[in-house]
C-alpha cells in the first residue's frame, strides 16, 4: 500500500518535471508548425482585450467593445483617420446637397459575408433600424429618413442643419437587409434588437467587414477569419484573429510577456514601464478624450452654491500631482472638458492649482474653518478611480474641508450617482460624437427630464447662457463660428468652476514588435485590425 503510494507520488513528480522540461521543446515544435501553417493560411493574431463583444449585433449596445467588434466584422460609411479627418470606407465620396441633406456615393464592389451585394437599400434599412435601437436612438435623434436615390447613391437627411452628420456616419455600419429580414426558426423577426435574450442578430452576422465570425463562445473567445471577397485589397495580412477577453490586469500583461498572446489592450498603468522597456514588445500610448471630473452638488449642499467655495476647491485640487503620482504620468492634466484636438479647446484656460489662493477664497466665502461633506466614487470604472478620489479627499483636507468618501463597484455606483446620495460625485465622460458639445449636454446643462439634457449633471449646475449656446452649436454648421461658441462655453464653465476637472485618461495598446500597431490604433480606441500587417 505504502509502496504504491510513494511510487505514485514519484510518478506524479516526474511527470510534472517532464512536462516542464519538455514544454519548451514543444514550443519550438509548435512554432515550427505555425510557420509551416502560416505559409499556407496566413498570419494569426492572438488578441486579448479587457472585454469581448456582448453580441454579434452591432446595434444592440453602444460600448467600446461593440464598436471594436463592428470595425472588424462590418464597415462604416466613413471612419475617423488619425488626424481627425474622415476616411471614405463604404462611401467613396459625399457632398452636401442642401442644408439638411448629405449625399453619399457608395462603393460598387462590396459584398456582404452572405454573398449579397451592398446597395443603397441596405443603408436606408440600417439607419431605420439604428433609430429604433435603445442605445443609439438618442445619438440619431437629429436624423430624419435616408432615401435611396439609386442603387449606389443614398441621401441622408437631418431634421435641422446638423454639423456632426459625418461624425455620426462613423456609426452607420451597413447591415445586410436581405440577411436580417424575415423570420427565424422560432418565428421571431430576424431584425429584432434584443438585449437580454436570444435573437437571430445576436448570434448571426452578415457585414461587409474584413472578418467573419467563425466561432464564438461568449466570454471565452471569438475566432475571426478573413473574408475572401473583402473589397479592400489594401488591407492587412492577418488571416485569423483569436480574441480572448482577459479581465484581470495582471493576467493580461502576463499573457503578453509570456508570449501567449500577441496584442493586448488596455495596458494597466503599473506595467507600462516594464512593457515599454521590453525589447521584443511595442507599447503605444495616446492621450484620450475621456475626462475624469468631480461634480459639486449645489442642490444638496448649501456651500457649493457659493462660487468662491467652488473655485477654492478647484484651486485646491492638484491635478498635475494626481497625474504624476496616481496615474504615473499616464494621463493628461485637464482644465476644461475637451482635449487639445477638440474644436472647443481654449488655450487660455490653464490648470489652476494654488493652495494659498484656495485658502484665501475659503476665507472670503466665510468658511475659514472649512466644513464637512460626503462624496462617492466608483472603484472599478476608471483607471485608478478609487486612488484619485482618496488623493482628492486629502487635498481638500488642506483647506479645511472634511470629506467622508465611499467607493463602490460600478454595478452599484450608477444608481447611487443618479439618486445623488452624496455632495460630491465622480464622473468620467467620453463623447460618443467625438465632439465637446456632448460633454456639456450630458454633464452640465440644466437637468431636464423632458429633453434628457443634463442626465449626468449631479452637480445641478444650471446656467441658461451655457444651455442656449450649447443648443446653438447643434445646428451651427459653420465650423469657425461653432468652435468660437464651444470655446466660449468652456470659458464660462471655467470661470464658474462648474465642475472640478482632473485629467483625460490616456489610451494604451501593447503588442509584439513585428506588426504595425502604431498605424492601426486611434484616439477613438477602435483599432482597425483589418489593416494590421504582421511581418
Amino acid at each position: 500500500m505504502k509502496r504504491s503510494l510513494v511510487f505514485l507520488a514519484l510518478v506524479a513528480i516526474l511527470a510534472l518535471g517532464l512536462i516542464g522540461c519538455s514544454s519548451d521543446k514543444k514550443e519550438e515544435a509548435t512554432a515550427k508548425q505555425e510557420t509551416a501553417e502560416s505559409a499556407t493560411v496566413g498570419k494569426t493574431l492572438k488578441l486579448a482585450m479587457d472585454a469581448d463583444p456582448v453580441s454579434l449585433d452591432p446595434q444592440v449596445q453602444l460600448s467600446g467593445g461593440m464598436m471594436q467588434y463592428a470595425h472588424m466584422v462590418f464597415d462604416p460609411l466613413v471612419r475617423w483617420a488619425k488626424d481627425g479627418s474622415f476616411e471614405p470606407r463604404l462611401a467613396e465620396s459625399w457632398e452636401q446637397v442642401n442644408a439638411t441633406t448629405m449625399r453619399f456615393h457608395l462603393r460598387k464592389d462590396v459584398k456582404f459575408h452572405s454573398g449579397n451585394p451592398l446597395t443603397a437599400e441596405d443603408v436606408v434599412w440600417t439607419l431605420d433600424r439604428i433609430k429604433s435601437s435603445p442605445d443609439f436612438k438618442g445619438l440619431f435623434e437629429p436624423f430624419g429618413q435616408a432615401v435611396a436615390v439609386d442603387d449606389y447613391t443614398v441621401d441622408i437627411n437631418t431634421k435641422k442643419p446638423y454639423g456632426l452628420l459625418l461624425n455620426m456616419a462613423t456609426y452607420i455600419f451597413p447591415m445586410d437587409k436581405k440577411f436580417y429580414s424575415g423570420k427565424d426558426e422560432s418565428g421571431k423577426d430576424k431584425a429584432a434588437i434584443i438585449k437580454t435574450g436570444p435573437s437571430f442578430a445576436n448570434s448571426n452576422e452578415s457585414g461587409t467587414g474584413k472578418y467573419i465570425v467563425a466561432e464564438r463562445e461568449q466570454g471565452v473567445r471569438t475566432i475571426f477569419k478573413a473574408f475572401p471577397q473583402y473589397w479592400d485589397k489594401n488591407s492587412g495580412n492577418v488571416e485569423t484573429i483569436i480574441l480572448t477577453p482577459i479581465k484581470n490586469d495582471a493576467t493580461r500583461v502576463a499573457a503578453l510577456l509570456s508570449g501567449d498572446v500577441d496584442f493586448i489592450m488596455p495596458v494597466p498603468p503599473q506595467d507600462l514601464e516594464r512593457i515599454g522597456s521590453t525589447e521584443s514588445l511595442d507599447l503605444v500610448t495616446m492621450s484620450g478624450s475621456r475626462i475624469i471630473t468631480f461634480q459639486l452638488n449645489q442642490k444638496r449642499f448649501e456651500p457649493f452654491k457659493n462660487l468662491k467655495v467652488r473655485q477654492a476647491i478647484v484651486y485646491a485640487t492638484d491635478n498635475s500631482g494626481i497625474v504624476e503620482k496616481v496615474m504615473k504620468g499616464f494621463a493628461t492634466v485637464a482644465s476644461q472638458q475637451g482635449p487639445k484636438e477638440f474644436a472647443s479647446y481654449n488655450a487660455e484656460l490653464t490648470p489652476r492649482y494654488d493652495l494659498e489662493k484656495a485658502k484665501q477664497l475659503m476665507k472670503e466665502a466665510g468658511y475659514a474653518d472649512g466644513f464637512e461633506c460626503t462624496m462617492i466614487a466608483p472603484n472599478n470604472r476608471y483607471v485608478n478611480d478609487e486612488k484619485i478620489a482618496e488623493a482628492f479627499v486629502s487635498m481638500l483636507g488642506k483647506i479645511g474641508i472634511k470629506v467622508s468618501l465611499k467607493t463602490m463597484p460600478k454595478a452599484q455606483y450608477w444608481d447611487q450617482f443618479d439618486a445623488q446620495v452624496a455632495d460630491i460625485e465622480m464622473i468620467g465622460w467620453h463623447p460618443d460624437t467625438e465632439d465637446s458639445a456632448n460633454y456639456t449636454e450630458f454633464l452640465l446643462m440644466c437637468p431636464n427630464k423632458e429633453t434628457g439634457y443634463g442626465q449626468y449633471n449631479s452637480g445641478n449646475y444650471c446656467n441658461p447662457e451655457v444651455d442656449a449656446m450649447t443648443i446653438q452649436t447643434q445646428t451651427e454648421t459653420d465650423t469657425a463660428k461653432r468652435s468660437a461658441l464651444l470655446q466660449k462655453i468652456e470659458k464660462a464653465l471655467y470661470d464658474d468652476a462648474a465642475f472640478v476637472p482632473l485629467h483625460w485618461q490616456n489610451l494604451s495598446w501593447a503588442s509584439k514588435n513585428n506588426m504595425n500597431t502604431e498605424a492601426i490604433v486611434n484616439v477613438q480606441n477602435f483599432p482597425y485590425f483589418g489593416d494590421l500587417v504582421i511581418k
Binding site: M1, D260, A411
Partner: protein, 324 residues
C-alpha cells in the same frame, strides 16, 4: 438508508430555497444589470422600459414567486449577459471547475498522505521539520499571490507553462475536457497547484496529528509487541483509523475549495463557475448569481451526504441517524 436519502433530499430543497430567498433579497444591492447592458448615454425612460420588460420593477414577492415557479420546472432564471438560461451557462462552465478541483484533489491526496504519515512517524527528522515549516508557509500565502508568483516564474520568465485559460479542449458529449490534450494538461498544472496550495498543508497537518494520536493507542503498542513489521503497523493498523476524521474534514473542505476556485479561476482566467460568478457580480447579472448560489448549495448538500455515506462504509460503528 432510504429514509436517510429522502430526508437529505428534503434538506437539499430547503437549503436551496433559503439560498434562493437570500440571494433574491440581496440581489438589489448588487447593483443594476440594466446599466451593464445599455450604453451610458441611454435615456432614463428607455432604461425604465427595459426594466419593465424584464420584470425588475415588480414587488419582491412577485419576482421571488416567479423564480420559484420557474425553479419548479428546472428553470432558475436567465442570464442577462449570456442571453440564455442561467442553468445552461453554469452547466457549460462546470466541467472546467470540476476538472480543476479534481486535479487539485489528486495533488492533495498524492502528497498529503505520504508526507503526513512520514512526519507523524519521524516527527524529529529534518525532513519532517521542513515539511511542517513549508506547510505553515503554504497556509499563510494567499492563493492569488501563489498564482501570480507562479505565472511570473513559469510563464513570464521561463516560458514553460501557459499563463491563462484552459488551452485546447475536446468536446465529449457536451463535457468540454482539457484532460485529454497535452495543451489542456499544461494549462491545468499551475491552477491546480495554486488551488491545492491552501488545502495541502492543512491535510498534511491533519493526517500528522491524527496519526500521532493513533500511534499512542494501546492496540498499536500491542501490534508492535506482536512483532509485526513496521509497514503493517503503520499502514494497516494506524493509518486506517487515521482516515476517519480526515474524510469528514475533507468533505467540509471540499466546500471551501469551491470558494477558493473563485480566486484561482480569476487569476488564471480559468473559464469555470467561480470566474463566471465573479463576472456576474461585476455585471450585476442577478439571475446568474442567484443560480450559482443555488447550485453551489446543492453541491454542498450532495457532498455532505456522500461523506456521511462513505463514513458509514469505512466505520461500521457509526449509525447514521441523520443528526450530527
Amino acid at each position: 438508508m432510504f429514509a436517510f436519502i429522502v430526508r437529505r433530499i428534503a434538506q437539499a430543497i430547503i437549503v436551496m430555497l433559503v439560498i434562493g430567498f437570500i440571494g433574491f433579497a440581496i440581489k438589489q444591492s448588487f447593483g443594476d444589470p440594466i446599466r451593464e447592458i445599455t450604453g451610458i448615454s441611454v435615456s432614463v425612460e428607455e432604461r425604465t422600459k427595459i426594466r419593465d420588460e424584464l420584470g425588475l420593477n415588480d414587488p419582491f414577492m412577485v419576482q421571488f414567486g416567479r423564480f420559484i415557479k420557474g425553479a419548479a420546472h428546472g428553470d432558475i432564471g436567465r442570464s442577462f449577459f449570456y442571453k440564455k438560461s442561467a442553468l445552461e451557462v453554469i452547466l457549460s462552465k462546470a466541467p472546467a471547475t470540476l476538472e480543476l478541483v479534481f486535479c487539485s484533489a489528486i495533488i492533495i491526496v498524492l502528497f498529503s498522505i505520504p508526507l503526513g504519515i512520514y512526519s507523524a512517524i519521524k516527527p524529529r527528522s529534518i525532513l519532517s521539520r521542513i515539511i511542517m515549516g513549508g506547510s505553515t508557509l503554504g497556509v499563510s500565502i494567499p492563493v492569488f499571490l501563489t498564482a501570480i508568483l507562479m505565472i511570473y516564474i513559469f510563464s513570464v520568465e521561463l516560458h514553460w507553462l501557459p499563463s491563462y485559460g484552459r488551452g485546447e479542449t475536446i468536446n465529449l458529449g457536451g463535457w468540454r475536457t482539457g484532460l485529454l490534450t497535452l495543451d489542456g494538461l499544461k494549462h491545468l498544472i499551475m491552477p491546480s497547484i495554486a488551488l491545492s496550495s491552501i488545502m495541502l498543508p492543512l491535510f498534511i497537518r491533519l493526517i500528522r496529528s491524527e496519526m500521532m494520536e493513533v500511534l499512542e493507542n494501546d492496540y498499536i503498542k500491542y501490534a508492535w509487541a506482536k512483532g509485526l513489521t513496521p509497514r503493517r503497523v503503520w499502514i494497516v493498523h494506524a493509518f486506517k483509523n487515521t482516515l476517519l476524521p480526515v474524510i469528514t474534514v475533507g468533505g467540509v473542505q471540499l466546500g471551501t475549495m469551491i470558494a477558493f476556485t473563485i480566486l484561482t479561476e480569476t487569476v488564471f482566467q480559468w473559464q469555470g463557475m467561480g470566474f463566471m460568478f465573479i463576472e456576474a457580480v461585476e455585471r450585476g447579472d442577478a439571475p446568474l448569481m442567484v443560480a450559482y448560489l443555488v447550485v453551489v448549495g446543492f453541491i454542498f448538500v450532495i457532498v455532505n451526504t456522500l461523506v456521511d455515506v462513505i463514513y458509514g462504509l469505512v466505520n461500521p460503528q457509526v449509525r447514521i441517524t441523520g443528526q450530527k
